[in-house]
Symmetry: C2
Subunit: 708 residues, 2 copies
Amino acid sequence: MSLRSLLLLLVFVAAAHRGLADDGYRLWLKYDPITDVAQRNAYRQAAQYIAADGSSIVLKTAAKELQRGLQGLLGQPVPVVAKVESGSTKRGILLIVSPTANVSVTGHSQDGYRILAQGRNLVVTGRSGAGVLYGVFALLRELQTGQPVSNLAQASSPRIQYRLLNHWDNPNGTVERGYAGSSIWKWYELPNNLDPRYTDYARANASIGINGVAINNVNASARYLTPEYLQKVKALAGVFRPYGIRVYLSVFWAAPKVIGGLKTSDPLDPQVKQWWAAKTEEIYKVIPDFGGFLVKANSEGEPGPQDYGRNHADGANMLADALGQHDGIVMWRAFVYKANSNGDRFKEAYEEFKPLDGKFLPKVLVQVKNGPIDFQAREPFHPLFGAMPKTPLVLEVQITQEYLGFATHLVYLAPLFKECLDSDTQTKGPGSMVAKVVDGSLDQHRISGIAGVANIGSDRNWTGHPMGQANWYAFGRLAWDYHLTSAAIATEWAKMTLTREPKAVATIVDMMDKSRDIYVRYTTPLGLHHIMGESIHYGPQPWLAKAGRPDWTAVYYHKADSLGLGFNRTATGSNALALYSPGVQKQWGDPKTCPLNYLLWFHHVGWKQPLPTGRTLWNELVTRYYTGADSVTWMQQRWASVKPAVDPAVHADVTARLQIQRQEALWWRDACVLYFQTYSRQPIPAPFAPPTRTLAEVKSLVDLYQLK
Amino acid sequence: MSLRSLLLLLVFVAAAHRGLADDGYRLWLKYDPITDVAQRNAYRQAAQYIAADGSSIVLKTAAKELQRGLQGLLGQPVPVVAKVESGSTKRGILLIVSPTANVSVTGHSQDGYRILAQGRNLVVTGRSGAGVLYGVFALLRELQTGQPVSNLAQASSPRIQYRLLNHWDNPNGTVERGYAGSSIWKWYELPNNLDPRYTDYARANASIGINGVAINNVNASARYLTPEYLQKVKALAGVFRPYGIRVYLSVFWAAPKVIGGLKTSDPLDPQVKQWWAAKTEEIYKVIPDFGGFLVKANSEGEPGPQDYGRNHADGANMLADALGQHDGIVMWRAFVYKANSNGDRFKEAYEEFKPLDGKFLPKVLVQVKNGPIDFQAREPFHPLFGAMPKTPLVLEVQITQEYLGFATHLVYLAPLFKECLDSDTQTKGPGSMVAKVVDGSLDQHRISGIAGVANIGSDRNWTGHPMGQANWYAFGRLAWDYHLTSAAIATEWAKMTLTREPKAVATIVDMMDKSRDIYVRYTTPLGLHHIMGESIHYGPQPWLAKAGRPDWTAVYYHKADSLGLGFNRTATGSNALALYSPGVQKQWGDPKTCPLNYLLWFHHVGWKQPLPTGRTLWNELVTRYYTGADSVTWMQQRWASVKPAVDPAVHADVTARLQIQRQEALWWRDACVLYFQTYSRQPIPAPFAPPTRTLAEVKSLVDLYQLK
């Protein structure tokens, strides 16, 4: 073949290749060739072969993933050798599983790894195949983000043991609160047809340390416990196993009746116990490394043990008994609130669960949402954290943006997750952070867990909004190590996913890190909450006064009247504040010391009350709505400035979504200031121009999303 | 750059390219390089440039599409030139729009094209830009399927004017009866964000002659008529326009009440008329080439003119009036059947619509499903065809496999579509085929239409089952020319999509062409119908005896008893047969001359009644169930034999789905023979072995799909 024809061929192959815009499918595992020649050569020198010592199936995955990553980054194949030839002068990467590996002493060392430059080689060691796999992804991350590797010496173990995604995916392929297409699980095609996407999903999870997946909605179908569906679940478990990921099932409490043919689902009924024990045995025969059960019971219409006069502990312990000697757990959700309650929904989970502390068997963890209501853009930490020292608590956060603008608003969630993790419950004195409750260190629990409700769907780019990928990534990284900063995680992610151009990275990270606060400002500033569109949970609807239940309205929460705004949860009100430790009560109980971010969560504040900012409540509220909406314009400008550094398709996609976000920020702003103005009877303060549309006009816009 | 480094680079780029398995996204427009060197060179000789004469936006698309196709197939760029240099000796392809172009005289010449080798050049002429675009895709098809082009001379015009896809897509992103992920329309992101997929969708449609799209479910939301959603629709229309595709909307009859604030939706109310007229004006201001309205009214709970004592013509005519001078149409669906009817659902559409023949305004077409019930695997043609000579009738077929095994069963639907089109209504003597009713030639209608309910979703390969793409393709090709054979269409599709290896193509086409008959055999042989799983419409449930309405059960339709099986629709029964012309009545009315495929549609036949096949009804029924299920094994073998010729990922995908199909064919077989055996009390005839499971076991399998 002549040079000329070769060149021509190359031009065409490259053109065909270029034609493929970045569609986001590869997430942060892109492995595009490193263009810095000196750096690439240094890495090439250091990675001339891969040697894997051990037979673990996960170790094999580690070698394969390392090979794949290196081939992409270095632009040349790197062989996996069974054994290093003696006397070889080549430099390589050794992967070693050793039960006594010297990994980080903090955290769960079984999953830990160490990466060390030793002599000619880089050595990745772990106490398990999974540990080495996490080490490999950590090493690849160093290369992807352009770090030197010659003197690498790092060791890390995860602080939390069970790091799970929760999929709210239904058997019909829909995803409850999913905004990225349909479920990625193809139930009609399983177990025969294994979509290659299942493997890519597992790769992505393993790369950020996620080691478990509850694959079905907590509003669960009984289907998954049938022999036929267990075969389908087994097929998925088979794909995930080589990546160190275990499968968990959400269970429908009435399954013994619905598919077992029993007359009851009473957890203390001997037949029911026997049914669950037999079912659990059946599951472990099919899936020997099954992770366990996730349960939503007696919550929002789901059946549960209370239907039989039993309590949550009776239910959870029955399932723990059914697990017997198997290495599985029960995650029992604390997200409960009674229908037509006259009290304060804020308090209900606490009131039901706090008395049960100490009543749960060792295999049970109680899964608590970050805040007391339901994944609002900002909530104070859930009062159960620190209040159940005898029970391991799983922290549940939402990665999918149910209340956070779906897939059209750019909201980077690491700051939200960290705000909760860093909150000091003070239940064992200052420093009793939620993170320490969750990782078990505060109360010396043997097991610990964290769960993120997935934002993953069948959209080509997995998450709808391209920047939503960062929330999946950040959840995994924080589950591993909550000491990482939001900005550090965003920097890693942006470098691997969007661009390696330093100024662009800094711009993007700045924008991401501020985005959640911006969202709060234009939707629910100063501690407003639950004023969004009915049932769809999109757009503003602060005027919602009638719904299926009082605690599904907006007025229940904001309590606007001619005097002021906010929910009085002090002793003169619902007294939900009393659920917190005295130190927290003291700070939050006084409107002067309560952080402004939580102010209206706990206080009914007069419209003209001056705040520490120097403005009255009304003026501060309006200021936040306006500056919040204007900050979206700032984000648009920031994003426009990185255009040369980002793939054009991705850039255009985010640009379009930011336009929508700007429009909808104005929609939120106008809806809320015009509505609350009907109570405050105050003008829009300078320098802000009053909305140019009427409240009625904004209301009709919102109605759109409620139309049949 | 040295030859060596070039070679290395090439290897890597090619490897990266090879790594991309065929994910089906490119459909039949793959344009992979032609590997036959002689053929490629011949094509390269003939296509050295493209010249487009005219300024139509669709003509520009034609040039662009031709360039794209040629670049892929020929492996070299082909320039588009403004004008051919005089004295040039190069050979090229000329695209010409000419109002007097000599296209095929049969059919709608405005969309027709001619391709002719003239002197050095190939000339593609059309009377419109769309005509040239269709000609370009026809030319590319010649190249894709390896036909010689040196003496090309062909002309073609579509027989049917309005060739539409109907999307049953909902505003929340779900698709009613969709089995390929979620809707491809991203309503929350429109109008700002234009998914590149919209363009690829338009390309695929234009390539098979589809010129209209009703983008939303006939169970319609009022949302689409709001100013906000019209902006979103406008954005889609803008993507489709350069491909000659117009947008249509399904309308919610109660829209004047729901979004117009009126007290009524009575079509004769002046305010209602005015509202629709104003709304239509508003639509045309936003979308000047808007196609018109599709209406499901007074059907399955949808509101309609009958709510006000008016009839379908009153409703349709009011909308036609609203369209005024705009170039739009009204497609009014005839799919109606009253709740709790004591009659025969078979007759209801006829009884409601036949008396209205002649009452509709010129812009109205009545849209009739292929058969009288609802998209069963086999139905006799709808008795309205031929019975409404004064009204243009749109034929509605279902491309999505609601009753045909979703996305797990391989069922090629061209034979089903053709069976209906080729049916002779005999209403104007022999030769009065449904096709001639539909294309308007039988009754000299000026307008004609055909609609296919789309099987398109967000799955990467668009249709879930890779072979489902062939059904989309076949619909378009038959809409253009119903004289094409099923096998010819399958051959085109397979060559463009799967392989060019002649023996493999023949094998695949054989399998496809028999697949629908195979499906009928293992599910509903001999004219059985509507015995599938309740509401989900998947799997067998012939024992279903109670449902929301009697005509939603299975027993209503099969009427099995100790004497025999089948629905007596002769004069001694419901007399639905009387709706057909005398010739049809005569043939179908006598069980001896009634085609076996329709037997149980019209006759209650004794279990021991001998059939023309020499077997009793019972033995024939069992034989068909068994041979049908075994034919899936035959399909598996056929598919296995083409493995070397087909992309490995696609081959594995179809292989896995065939495994499921085989299991479910056995499930259907066992369910039906065991259930009907409880009435026939006859043994399974030799050589077939009785099912090894009990009816109760099969029933519990079916229950799975009905579980919460």
